[in-house]
């Protein structure tokens, strides 16, 4: 019985991390309607930054966020500004802008290959003092690094929610997401908002990368698997919804854990996709989204 409890708890913790990656994506997808196929690659980049920061200076992933966050923000900001925006402009009036999608796919291929050439093929891990540390609650074992990751996710989600609701910038972002033209008429600089939103989305991914390193490994193609889950969670939770991303992540995490217990882990991807497809057809707005006009 305690194994079941451990399984579910682990699913929730891991789901939090998935939700964290989805958080950045839901902002980007929700506000700009951009499918960012390179999302996983940004995660990988964040993990490498965290890795090298630790290896070279000994600064831990959490402390290192003071460096990682601005770095990833800039990365996202300029990617949007220099790469995505030009493509976007051409397709401003096209209903379904697939060029951006293709662009981000090209970016994904490029970044992963670049990482391979730059960092090499070996799988790398870091050894923080709390690596492998566990908490014993009776017979239930909870992994501390994952717990920290989860708490970080929750805190970040709350902060982000407040940011969007209470600050001017946050409201501007939401307005742009709801109705681009109306927002422009209200005097909002759409381009700048897009740049900032993308930057924030990637900065959040930066946090995800940082909290993963203590218990995971980094490798040039590590991002793909998380990327897929992020998309599924975004749809599951509802486009642009923060509680949706978090809850969606937890659901996916728990499903993952349970599938392995009751069938085998080789079916996990399949089941997750099945959930995804069901949501798409039965409730496309997701758990917390609303029927979008776009």
């Amino acid at each position: 019985m305690d194994i079941m409890a451990t399984t579910i708890i682990n699913g929730i913790l891991m789901g939090g991390v998935y939700g964290l990656t989805a958080l950045g994506l839901t902002l980007i997808f929700g506000v700009m309607k951009v499918i960012n196929f390179a999302h996983g690659s940004f995660l990988m980049a964040a993990m490498f930054v965290t890795y090298y920061l630790f290896q070279l200076t000994g600064i831990g992933p959490y402390l290192g966020l003071v460096i990682t966050l601005p770095l990833l923000f800039a990365f996202g900001y300029y990617t949007q500004k220099l790469l995505i925006r030009p493509v976007f402009k051409i397709e401003r009036d096209v209903r379904e802008p697939i060029s951006v999608l293709m662009l981000t796919a090209g970016l994904w291929i490029f970044m992963d290959a670049f990482a391979l050439a730059l960092f090499g093929a070996f799988y790398k891990t870091i050894k923080t003092p709390y690596k492998g540390a566990v908490l014993h609650l009776g017979d239930v074992i909870i992994s501390l690094p994952r717990l920290y990751a989860f708490l970080t996710t929750v805190i970040l989600a709350i902060l982000f929610y407040l940011f969007l609701k209470k600050t001017r910038l946050g409201r501007a972002i939401r307005a742009t997401g709801q109705d681009r033209d109306a927002a422009r008429l209200m005097g909002i600089n759409i381009d700048r908002i897009y740049n900032v939103a993308f930057g924030i989305g990637i900065a959040i991914v930066g946090v995800a990368g940082a909290v993963l390193m203590p218990f995971y490994y980094v490798h040039p193609v590590v991002g793909v698997v998380f990327d897929i889950r992020a998309f599924i969670i975004v749809v599951l939770g509802g486009l642009g919804s923060i509680p949706g991303a978090l809850l969606g992540g937890i659901i996916i995490g728990v499903v993952e854990s349970l599938v392995a217990q009751f069938i085998t882990a080789t079916w996990t991807e399949g089941i997750i996709y099945a959930i995804f497809i069901s949501v798409l057809f039965l409730r496309p707005e997701g758990l917390f989204g609303f029927k979008a006009e776009w």
Binding site: M102, A105, G106, I109, F114, I232, L280
Partner: protein
């Protein structure tokens, strides 16, 4: 335009047509002059991708949606014909139609609900379906009583040179098979583009509500396009198995292949007649060459180039490169006075 057409019919065959016929002729006899089997294989691969992308184009180009999981149908084709061959000795020439029919049915079943989804969601749904099929295949040793070996895949029992069993020792046969297949799908695309179905598809893709207001059953049109597209994609899957003798889930029902097909068609120019083919002719060699010359020495460099090309095209010519290529070609012709300055519709 009508006037130009009848006028053209009475003209002698123009220079352009001669060049075209010569070109087609070269393609037809090329295999007899190519000594290197690797090069022939290379040509076959180009034609195969051109074939797949042209089939994809019916849905991804004309119907205006973005299917990113089309390899699913290649997989259905390959697995069906192979399983029927191994279990019943049914020649893949027949088995491939069974696979194609199955793929068409599956395509329609998937298409019906999926076409209702908006662009990005549609793309994601096709990805999910492709991956789901892969997972299912990897986890099953048997499917409906047939051995499919899960993740380890199927190896085709080799019969040497056996044309009746769609097996050839000489690659040239494969070259001609795929050339014929390409010609067929090209012709079908050509006819559809000029038919009512084609116009309805384009209208439905661009302004769905307006088209429906005019009484066009957009959904039905899309499904027809889907059925044709998946039918032919499956035939391409069987071809692949016969060429390579080995399939396994991740090798054919893969996102990699699905994405490649979409990329090539888009870079070439989706929705155009020749875009996918031009895309294949330019990108497949580019990928092969970079992998050959750079893949062995610097890890991943060939992939970097591929990604960079993709980004560059999307940044500068998102409609695809067929148009600018044509413009450039016509400019070059004019420059070298191979054509009169006036663009009258001479020749066919």
């Amino acid at each position: 335009m009508e006037k130009g057409r009848t006028h053209a019919k009475t003209l002698k065959i123009g220079r352009i047509t001669w060049i075209t016929l010569i070109g087609a002729g070269i393609l037809l006899v090329a295999p007899f002059f190519i000594q290197s089997p690797a090069f022939l294989q290379f040509m076959i691969l180009i034609l195969w991708y051109a074939y797949l992308t042209t089939s994809w184009n019916l849905v991804g180009g004309f119907a205006g949606v973005l299917p990113l999981g089309h390899a699913t149908f290649a997989g259905i084709g390959a697995y069906t014909s192979s399983v029927l061959f191994i279990h019943y000795g049914l020649t893949p020439w027949v088995g491939m139609f069974a696979g194609a029919l199955l793929a068409a049915i599956v395509g329609v079943i998937i298409g019906a609900p999926t076409f209702r989804l908006r662009g990005a969601y549609f793309a994601l749904a096709t990805i999910a379906i492709c991956e789901s099929l892969r997972v299912v295949l990897e986890n099953m040793q048997k499917f409906l009583g047939f051995d499919i070996n899960g993740a380890r895949g199927i190896l085709l029992p080799l019969k040497g040179h056996s044309p009746i069993n769609y097996q050839f020792l000489d690659k040239r046969y494969f070259y001609y098979v795929i050339l014929v297949m390409l010609a067929i799908i090209f012709y079908i695309t050509y006819r559809i583009a000029r038919s009512k179905l084609g116009y309805y598809l384009v209208a439905g893709g661009e302004e769905k509500e307006a088209a429906e207001a005019l009484g066009i059953n957009v959904a039905k049109c899309k499904l027809i396009a889907m059925a044709i597209s998946t039918f032919f994609t499956a035939l391409g899957g069987t071809f692949y198995m016969q060429l390579v003798h080995y399939i396994y889930p991740r090798g054919i029902v893969s996102l990699d292949l699905s994405f490649e097909i979409a990329f090539i068609a888009i870079i070439g120019g989706r929705g155009t007649l020749l875009g996918p083919i031009v895309g294949a002719v330019l990108l497949v060699p580019a990928a092969e060459l970079t992998r050959t010359y750079l893949g062995g020495s610097y890890e991943g460099v060939h992939l970097m180039l591929y990604g960079a090309v993709l980004m560059a095209v999307m940044l500068f010519k998102p409609r695809g490169i067929v148009e600018p290529l044509e413009t450039f070609y016509r400019w070059a012709l004019r420059k070298f006075s191979l054509q009169p300055v006036m663009q009258t519709d001479r020749g066919v």
